[in-house]
Symmetry: C2
Subunit: 642 residues, 2 copies
């Protein structure tokens, strides 16, 4: 964590220096602006993840509206995939979640006992996060805490961004003839009882609808959710309860012979847990609301399914009845499929506004945040003039395909979860189907299967063999290293902040120690001084040399065999108002865990390689260290010269 | 981290439910109370560490006064030993410090270059925290942040404790004829410019003087600091600077041939660092103030000493000139040496109020917090009626001896640091004396050499051989384990909170899996049900079974070989208003790092053993699992039956 670059400031380093005009603040309070760069509808995980990222840019004005009159307190989503934890690390609050949350380490599987089929018994156990799949755990914590941590990031950011509560998007129109705040948004005040009040108008350059399955933003751009419903009612409840069931603190998948299924999710704090309980089959065209089901129905069904065990519920913290639906829009922005070369998007949807699915795979919140973490840096690039607005087409292109995969996988999973146990399972001759499928799904449910296809921002995998464990189009996979200047053991991936910057990780080849005639030195010389260098071309005169593209070097030697003072100048840059040297650009291997980052991530030890990583932590390109013209070409395809 | 035991509460789990009467609060604001249980003088590390611990007890009224008009912003101490980090873990903010702070991983040593003695060159490097010495790093962060994190703990505790600023202890008197608030304290209001104002009076049961080297509390009880001064002026400064010196991000000890010595301490944030710079020899009886030294003198001396390197200072954040003194009081409380069997202490001193030394070994803040972490649980025990007040004698007995060791070690270290390099060092024939001594001191400077002598609360080491890595009288040494109920990998020591509770770690012998005829089962049966059990005798009727003595079991098997449902009832206790089961009492080994806790801590695998740990994390006793009468006897010597 770097701070004090521009001088000492007392207090919490997570509270950044304010970039707001205090006079303006005092005069306007939380007034509605006439124009904003980005208007976000909805303070759910998608909206807050986007707002938290944009709040870091003083030059971008952002407004986020929420119909409710304050932050959420409980309920809804609770699963945080390892991939989301990696993203939280970049936002600076992964450690907080690790401390507070339940960690999903092992999942157990329960089936009818063949000798006594009305009783369930434990049939299997599976490790949830494979060794070295991520340095982060899979955690469970209530969605309200995630909201609060994003709200803290926003409030502590230079823009001191806070939501406008009690306000919702009623409608919007886009004037395609102008580039000056072309989206006119009608906002409606919402009273405490939820009814509609007066309206007001805001003009925005971009609007992002994170306003849930009934999204008015989606409707305004003509988007429709397509899909089906499984005609199956489920109940979900967060409870404090006692039970003779022994696995209350492990995630459990339970299939009974005739009473349906249960998913148990232990929760933060050591006592609370969640149960998803299969209730009744619905008739075609019937909506679950007609059944008038309550938490008592959920508790009764749970006790039937868990026989011979019983649950004695002491407090129902939150409950809900829902039916499974898997639905998706065709496009996550306002530009129709055939029009992408004629105009650029102005309005986007994210999260439940464009894809809905069963909550039981723990994907909803994670995929929603993944949507806006993908969109955030692109909007920031466009609004700060770094890239052409056509970059914004890549949001729908990348995320709609991922959502499609999600809906399909989730559909399949829901069918398997609800299917009665088969013969071959009951006699124990093979691993139960739901356990097999659960294990197969783990990379997917961990959020690690996301794989973007080649485009202007994802290169073709020509040099993939030089870093076989860093897959182009997938997320950068962290590993342990030592920082040379202070010998600090750390995760290489943890240098990333959610700040819209690109990273280049240059892995040195054998015997390269940064000396004058080596490949690392030549690469740094090119990046530092050549007129074709993207660092030179696209970094602005008044910016630090790493403001847009942050270069880090990793060497194969240990820290006693390298000299910081021998490193090329680019790896010891002068920064900030005092021109202070940044000592944190050079790393070496850490052998304490046995292997090192070269072995763990399949980096070519002989020649090394260069891994280009996008601001959202996805690998964009892998290149040889001396492929100078390829480096230039790749970034020339993205950035505008400043 | 356990919470929600008594029902769900939205929001940050570190903000505990308030135990204050809101009506009273509204009426009184931050008024001065007539009587308090504990009055603490001074908001430094010693005072705040004590206040943070006492704030957790709603039944104890605490007041803390500070002459300054608000929290500290910068300067003074910055070193946090691994032992203090372990204590911060119990207070819940070690992770925050780990994230923000500089980590001392390697220290380098610089001496005159024999070929060109006016120049320094690097002669050695040493690992700062030995492998497995602690699970915590040695960190550096400004004292103001530590203060703030303690203040946060206080404010979020059930008592919502906040300091009374602008108030200092002027004098106090003790009425030995009463037990009803026998200490009358005269408090003086301090104006913004530091001058004295009106006075007011508070009566207290106990007063703790954490009011620095000029302590009025110490003076009021007739305490005097004895010791000497080294007649050597030193300068210290926190700076943002550039330099061609390559080791700015490593802790460095630098000895020049003729210009004196420097200690470089890199600081939080990646840019800031501290320098301790040797300045001028003082004449006998001369005070450093007479020399009128400034930060310019420090910078000039630094540049002379570091030749051929130069330092270009951009911002001096804080600086100070001081002379080394090593001083100590005879007693840390108000009871003279010959009077200990006649009366119990009422007034204590802690931190600089009773021992001062050179700042350069990074001990001041750490030892000061160690003082009050030792005193806090003892005061809480006495004030909640759990023990006889004679327990309080052990504070001075334990801490004065430790302070004496500190002052002696620090004295020796200061002499070595200031001695000119010897012949044998200059020719490189042996390791420089200061490097040798530095390495020898590491256990001590890490805060891990503290070793309390046998007493009522530290047993004689009769069974030490059954846990050779857990030394009776030293701090409990954590190691990795897996929690059985949820297979969570964790540090066993991290279950401890700064809550005044005792812990018993019961390590099971070979083949014991908690079953009915095993030693673990018999131990739990004794502790749970026998009338001689300390858990039964000393836990109150309205308390949870682990409210005073918290029993945890560790097994040698891995988690797939143990069944939570087979565990004795004591290890699955019902707690809180709902009688919810606590699932976090049972652990098994974690082999992921190769060895396991039995091997790492020398636990007798055949028979196991029982490790009794005090609320301040020090090992009080080691016993066989079946030594029931010894267990009873030990606790009978401490607690009063309730």
């Amino acid at each position: 964590m770097q701070y004090y670059l521009d001088g000492f400031r007392p207090g919490d380093p997570d509270i950044k220096a304010s970039a707001r005009d205090p006079n303006l603040d005092a005069a306007n309070g939380n007034a509605i602006p006439a124009c904003v760069d980005v208007l976000i509808a909805g303070c759910g995980p998608a909206g807050l993840c986007l707002a938290a990222q944009l709040a870091g840019f003083p030059e971008i004005s952002t407004m986020i509206v929420e119909p409710k009159h304050g932050p959420m307190e409980k309920g809804q989503a609770d699963g945080v995939s390892v991939r989301s934890m990696e993203m939280f690390q970049a936002f600076g609050f992964a450690e907080k979640i690790k401390r507070e949350a339940y960690w999903v380490n092992q999942t157990t599987f329960w089936k009818p006992d063949p000798g006594k089929p009305q009783n369930i018994h434990r049939v299997g156990i599976a490790q949830d996060v494979a060794d070295d799949q991520s340095e982060m755990p899979h955690t469970i914590v209530n969605q309200a805490r995630i909201h609060q941590l994003f709200l803290d990031v926003m409030k502590n950011a230079p823009t001191r961004l806070e939501p406008h509560y009690g306000l919702r998007v009623r409608d919007l129109t886009i004037d395609v003839s102008t580039n000056d705040h072309p989206v006119t948004v009608v906002l409606e005040y919402v009273t405490e009882d939820g009814s509609a009040g007066d309206t007001t108008t805001v003009r925005a350059n971009y609007v992002v609808g994170c306003d849930g399955a009934r999204s008015t933003v989606r409707k305004a751009i003509g988007g429709k959710l397509h899909g089906d419903a499984a005609h199956q009612a489920w109940g979900v409840m967060d409870i404090l309860a006692n039970s003779d069931f022994p696995d209350l603190r492990r995630k459990c998948l339970i299939q009974s012979a005739k009473e349906g299924n249960i998913l148990i999710i232990p929760r933060e704090g050591g006592y609370l847990f969640r149960m998803y309980v299969e209730l009744e089959k619905l008739n075609p065209d019937e909506r679950v609301a007609t059944r008038n089901l309550t938490s008592d129905h959920i508790i009764a069904a749970a006790n039937r399914i868990m026989c011979p065990y019983a649950i004695d519920v002491k407090e129902v913290v939150w409950w809900s009845i829902y039916e499974i639906g898997h639905r998706l829009t065709d496009k996550f922005d306002d530009v129709r499929a055939g029009e992408t070369d004629r105009r650029n998007p102005r309005v986007f949807t994210a999260g439940d506004a464009c894809h809905t699915h069963s909550p039981k795979a723990g994907q909803g919140m994670n995929v929603s945040m993944g949507d806006t973490f993908n969109l955030g840096w692109k909007l920031a690039h466009v609004l700060t003039g770094r890239t052409d607005p056509s970059l914004l087409h890549s949001y729908s292109a990348e995320r709609q395909l991922e959502a499609k995969r999600l809906v399909e996988t989730d559909h399949k999973w829901a069918r398997i979860m609800s299917a009665p146990p088969g013969e071959s399972e009951l006699d124990g001759s093979e691993m139960p189907r739901f356990q097999k499928q659960f294990i197969e799904n783990l990379e997917f449910t961990g959020g690690l299967a996301v794989h973007y296809e080649p485009s202007a921002i994802v290169a073709k995998p020509i040099h993939q063999h030089t870093a076989t464990g860093q897959i182009i189009g997938k997320r950068f996979h962290s590993a342990p290293v030592l920082r040379l200047a202070d010998a600090k053991p750390m995760q290489l991936g943890h240098i990333v902040e959610a700040d819209g910057r690109w990273r280049i990780y240059a892995f040195a080849g054998l015997d390269d120690s940064g000396h004058n005639d080596g490949a690392m030195h030549k690469l740094c010389k090119f990046l530092d001084a050549d007129k074709e260098s993207p660092v030179r071309r696209f970094t602005r005169r008044d910016e630090d040399p790493d403001a847009l593209i942050d270069i880090r070097a990793i060497f194969q030697q240990d820290f006693t065999s390298l000299n910081y003072e021998d490193m090329p100048a680019l790896l010891r840059p002068a920064k900030g108002r005092y021109g202070l040297r940044d000592f944190e650009k050079v790393f070496c291997v850490d052998h304490k865990s046995g292997d090192d980052i070269y072995g763990m991530r399949g980096i070519d030890r002989k020649c090394g390689c260069l891994v280009v990583v996008r601001p959202d932590q996805y690998v964009a390109h892998i290149l040889p260290l001396d492929a100078f013209s390829d480096i230039s070409e790749f970034f020339n395809g993205i950035f505008r010269a400043s």
